[in-house]
């Protein structure tokens, strides 16, 4: 048993990617090792702005021996007229390194083919790991890769070095223009730039000696502790918001907290504006006094232990000051008018030719939001909040503050709403209604906010699609992909259990009787466009796109599709599943030829029909139970970031798979299309029942990739 270390050293990664990349690398490593038949123990991932790494314990010395069935040419092409092997079949045998005598025939749902049983495994991991590790660099899911220099292989940011160690042995990996070694790099300013790792186990300790806290969780804790400690020197506590600590953590390799000050006169600004100016622009933690009021101090967390902290502190203060100066100026000017007065200003802002002004857009969004609120069954209280928010939704777009600081759209709407005496729920809906502000940004969590956000983005998608402005290729001038991603993420995180096409249709009511004309085709293509984004997000979670097609074919709610996708992914890792799927497809194919549903057990006249018939109820109820378990295990989550739990050790799985044996026996031994029409219809009905029993998983018959 050995320990494997693989580190991808990079130029600074985007902070939002560090966690995602670390989790993705953990998952992909485990998947690939499993697929290669390499036994292993725990997989632990690491991530900082300059590196992603995995440490795998208890890696077996050789891969497990196993057999793989490989399909060759069709029987008709494999033999000539006198039954001699054709050149194609001989070539197939040679390519697989077996004697032609080892080829054998087998029926499939596409006819008879020749096959070979290929014996795999038993290779030492020292030779099988290098290509596997190299493929990790290539295949690590990431939303936006780049190229650099003359390197063809893209990655998130340029790859600077690779470390691949099996215990104390260097594995020879080459990827993204870099050759692996045992040399890693410490902190950019504080650590050694050529650190030899004697053994895979030394990874965390060697980096710690070189001022890198490589474990993300430990670094987050250290960051928080350091920031709290400097705040405490003035008797202050930190103010945070979701994501701030994570972002700060993933912008540094070692935290050094610095307390800074700003002019007390800015304390007259509302907390929202003050805090968001510090957080959004500078990623500083605002602070509070004991009595809860904001203090004229902030904590910045540096990535460098400098000789003189006062120098950095002055820099931080100097960077924050003009931001606060601007904020104060806009705050004073904007409040000369109410939000509803600002809303009038939207009619002067163009949205798009054919879709009217911003005011037109807001009006449509209002109609769509009310229709969605009805469809999604919002509570009366939430509906009331929504009604109060609608007339001033996006009114902050017309304020100077947002004009200057567009990323504060919504946040500012909330602050101004509170300042003019709106209810807190209404103010929150205004803020959540424009989320997510960035592709990976936080989602609306209040229901009225989610409805506003959905209505706004669906209105935009429907409008542009109706104008024939669907994105093509890489051209997406109106950012419609981003809107569709937002819709998919919001629906999944809300756990909305209404079918996607119904939701799009409800939003489209805003276009009724107006222009542009929205047809069924428009709605269909918007729905399909959103499903494509769902597939992309699920792919980031490690679900192959082929699986997604199966789970979305019957247009379910988004969260149902994503749960099923993860279930199918878990199932597809069971060896028996691929075979069951193959049999299922044959059954579904045959059953398709009839509409028979009635099964009469008295008409069974072979020993293979009854066992299959009797296996169905158990499989069906097991599957139903499985789906309930999955719903319980996978609470609605932010699609694209992976559900909170992995599906493992699912109860009921063996019962579903138990269908395989009787189905196999039936298909092998029973001729379905017999002359006796009553027996034939009965058998077709039985197969129909079988294929129907797995329907709740999705349209498994569209699955291709798993069948070989």
């Amino acid at each position: 048993m050995a320990t494997l270390l693989f580190e991808i050293g990079t130029e600074e990664l985007p902070s939002w990617y560090v966690s995602q990349g670390r989790a993705g690398l953990e998952r992909l490593t485990a998947e690939r090792l499993t697929a290669a038949g390499v036994a292993f123990g725990t997989v632990r991932g690491f991530g900082t702005p300059r590196r992603l790494a995995v440490l795998v314990e208890d890696v077996a010395a050789t891969s497990a021996a196993r057999e793989e069935l490989k399909r060759g040419p069709a029987v008709s092409a494999a033999f000539d007229a006198v039954g001699k092997l054709s050149r194609a079949a001989e070539g197939f045998a040679r390519a697989n390194g077996v004697d032609p005598s080892e080829l054998f025939k087998q029926e499939t749902d596409r006819g008879a083919y020749v096959f070979v049983r290929k014996r795999l495994g038993g290779e030492p991991v020292v030779t099988s790991l290098p290509p596997l590790l190299s493929a990790l660099v290539r295949d690590l899911p990431a939303p936006r890769k780049m190229r650099w220099g003359e390197v063809e292989q893209p990655f998130l940011r340029p790859v600077a070095w690779l470390v691949a160690l099996l215990d104390d042995t260097v594995l020879d990996v080459s990827a993204a223009g870099v050759q692996s070694g045992r040399t890693t790099r410490g902190h950019r300013f504080l650590g050694g730039q050529a650190l030899e790792l004697p053994h895979a186990h030394d990874y965390e300790a060697v980096l710690a000696d070189s001022s890198v806290v490589v474990d993300e969780g430990k670094r987050r804790d250290a960051t928080l502790t350091a920031a709290q400690r400097v705040a405490a020197t003035e008797g202050l506590t930190l103010v945070s918001e979701p994501g701030l600590l994570e972002e700060v953590t993933n912008l540094l390799e070692i935290p050094v907290a610095i307390l800074g000050r700003f002019d007390e006169r800015y304390l007259s600004l509302p907390d929202e504006v003050l805090a968001t100016t510090m957080i959004h622009h500078q990623r500083f933690f605002p602070t509070r006094r004991e009595d809860g009021a904001l203090a004229p101090y902030f904590v910045g967390v540096s990535n460098n232990e400098v000789p003189e902290r006062a120098l950095v502190q002055r820099g931080y203060e100097g960077a924050l000051n003009p931001r606060l100066f601007d904020a104060q100026f806009f705050w004073n000017v904007d409040r000369n008018r109410s939000l509803s007065q600002h809303a009038w200003g939207l009619s002067g802002v163009g949205f798009h030719k054919g879709l009217g002004t911003m005011a037109d857009k807001v009006m449509r969004t209002q109609t769509a939001a009310l229709a969605l609120a009805q469809l999604l069954g919002l509570s009366e209280a939430d509906k009331e909040t929504l009604s109060s928010a609608l007339p001033i939704y996006k009114a902050d777009l017309a304020t100077q503050m947002v004009g200057e600081l567009p990323e504060l759209e919504g946040v500012i709407g909330r602050a101004y709403a509170l300042a003019e005496g709106q209810r807190a729920e209404v103010a929150e809906a205004l803020e959540h209604g424009v989320r997510p502000g960035t592709p990976g940004g936080p989602l609306p969590t209040s229901e009225p906010g989610a409805v506003l956000s959905l209505a706004d983005r669906l209105d935009k998608l429907i409008g542009f699609f109706a104008l024939g402005q669907k994105p093509s290729g890489s051209a997406d001038p109106f950012g419609l992909r981003r809107d569709a991603v937002a819709v998919a993420r919001t629906l999944n995180a809300q756990g909305t259990r209404v079918k996607l096409d119904q939701i799009v249709r409800a939003a489209a009511t805003a276009y009724e009787g107006g222009t542009p004309a929205v047809t069924e085709e428009t709605i269909g293509s918007v729905v399909a466009f959103i499903w494509d984004r769902v597939a992309g997000l699920l792919e980031l979670e490690g679900v192959p796109t082929a699986l997604v097609r199966a789970v979305t074919a019957d247009a379910p709610p988004v969260v149902t599709a994503s749960r099923r996708a993860h279930l199918l992914r878990a199932l597809s890792q069971e060896g028996d599943f691929a075979q069951l799927l193959q049999l299922y497809k044959r059954a579904a194919n045959l059953a398709k030829q009839s509409q028979e549903t009635e099964i009469n057990p008295k008409r069974f006249d072979s020993p293979f029909e009854r066992p299959l018939y009797e296996a169905i109820p158990a499989a069906k109820s097991a599957l139903r139970e499985l789906l309930v378990t999955v719903r319980r295990e996978l609470a609605p989550w932010d699609l694209g970031s992976g559900p909170a739990r992995e599906l493992k050790n699912l109860p009921g799985l063996p019962d579903v798979l138990a269908l395989k044996a009787p189905l196999d026996a039936f298909l092998d031994n029973v001729l379905v299309m017999v002359e006796n029409s009553a027996v034939r219809r009965n058998r077709l009905a039985l197969l129909g029942e079988v294929s129907g029993s797995l329907r709740e998983l999705g349209r498994l018959e569209v699955l291709e990739g798993l069948s070989s």
């Binding site: 912008l251 163009g350 992909r481």
Partner: protein, 300 residues
């Protein structure tokens, strides 16, 4: 360190690293990226390294000198390296050292900032470099220029000279930066800045600029057909400036704005394609294009 000495130090530093020191171009541009030394030279496979001061005009960014950081006319220091070298981050940090900034004494960060210039059909991924919380440089690996996937990839460093100078000199306002001993930027540029702000925001003759845009566009297209790439591209730059003036004057609706940007983009892409088609045919065969989604397209 006075402003002009910063320019000299950077120039000396990058010249030693094999950059051609290009002199400022004599047409108004919004950024150093517009220079043929960057826009055209980033295309094709020939290695190229250049550094230069790019006086830049952003009519809409003027604030009559009231905002200490924002001006409609300012100097960028632009470095373009093709192919992007493996040690470019360290080379950049060393250039700060040449300016008297010891990176060991500061909190210097490479924070994700992706760059896009739709009117040039150009985008790239990279960072804004922050020094003690203040943005001082844009650092971009170009992925596309003129709508063309780049092979090899160039890296562009754009230093905000005024920002850096304010920091180095502890100046509270861009005008207070000492340009030469005893002479401030304000001495040199205050009247220029105020008068241009007045022009940009209140006196731009919109019908004239619209007409100029149309004429420049037509001329660029005509010259491209004659394979006079450089003169054609000058008209693209002029059209871009006319657009910037209209934008500052506040006479463009959102829709019109998009439309002008699309027209500029078409010209830029046409220029890039013509330029490439006339390069000597020494290009290696193009490999399969990997993912080159534009940054606008979001997470999926």
């Amino acid at each position: 360190m006075v402003f002009q000495e910063m320019i000299l130090r950077l120039t000396e530093y990058w010249a030693e690293r094999g950059c051609v020191i290009v002199q400022p171009y004599d047409t108004e541009v919004g950024a150093g990226t517009f220079y043929p030394s960057t826009f055209l030279r980033a295309l094709g496979s020939e290695p190229w390294r250049a550094a230069y001061v790019a006086p830049s005009r952003r009519p809409a960014d003027g604030r009559y000198g009231e905002n200490p950081y924002r001006f409609q006319y300012y100097f960028q220091y632009q470095v373009i390296l093709k192919p992007s070298p493996a040690d470019v981050q360290q080379a950049y940090l060393d250039s700060l050292y040449a300016l008297g900034i010891d990176y060991r004494e500061h909190d210097i960060r490479f924070v994700e900032d992706n760059w896009e210039q739709p009117s040039l059909g150009a985008w790239g991924l990279g960072w804004e470099v922050q020094m003690d919380g203040m943005e001082v440089t844009q650092f971009t690996y170009f992925q596309q220029v003129g709508g063309v996937d780049l092979r090899p990839v160039s890296v562009e460093l754009t230093y905000g000279l005024e920002r850096l100078a304010m920091y180095l000199q502890g100046a509270q306002h861009g005008f207070d930066v000492e340009y030469a001993p005893g002479v401030t930027i304000g001495d040199l540029r205050r009247d220029f800045e105020l008068q241009h702000c007045a022009y940009n925001f209140t006196q731009v003759n919109a019908p004239l600029q619209r007409q100029l845009f149309d004429s420049f566009e037509g001329e660029a297209a005509r010259l491209l057909d004659l394979e006079l790439i450089y003169p054609a591209y000058e008209f693209v730059m002029k059209a871009s400036h006319a657009f910037n003036l209209l934008d500052a004057r506040g006479v463009l609706s959102h829709m019109e704005r998009q439309n002008y940007v699309q027209r500029l983009r078409r010209l830029s892409e046409g220029t890039a394609k013509r330029y490439l088609s006339l390069l000597p045919k020494t290009e290696p065969p193009k490999a399969e294009t990997p993912q080159t989604e534009t940054p606008k397209t979001g997470a999926a």
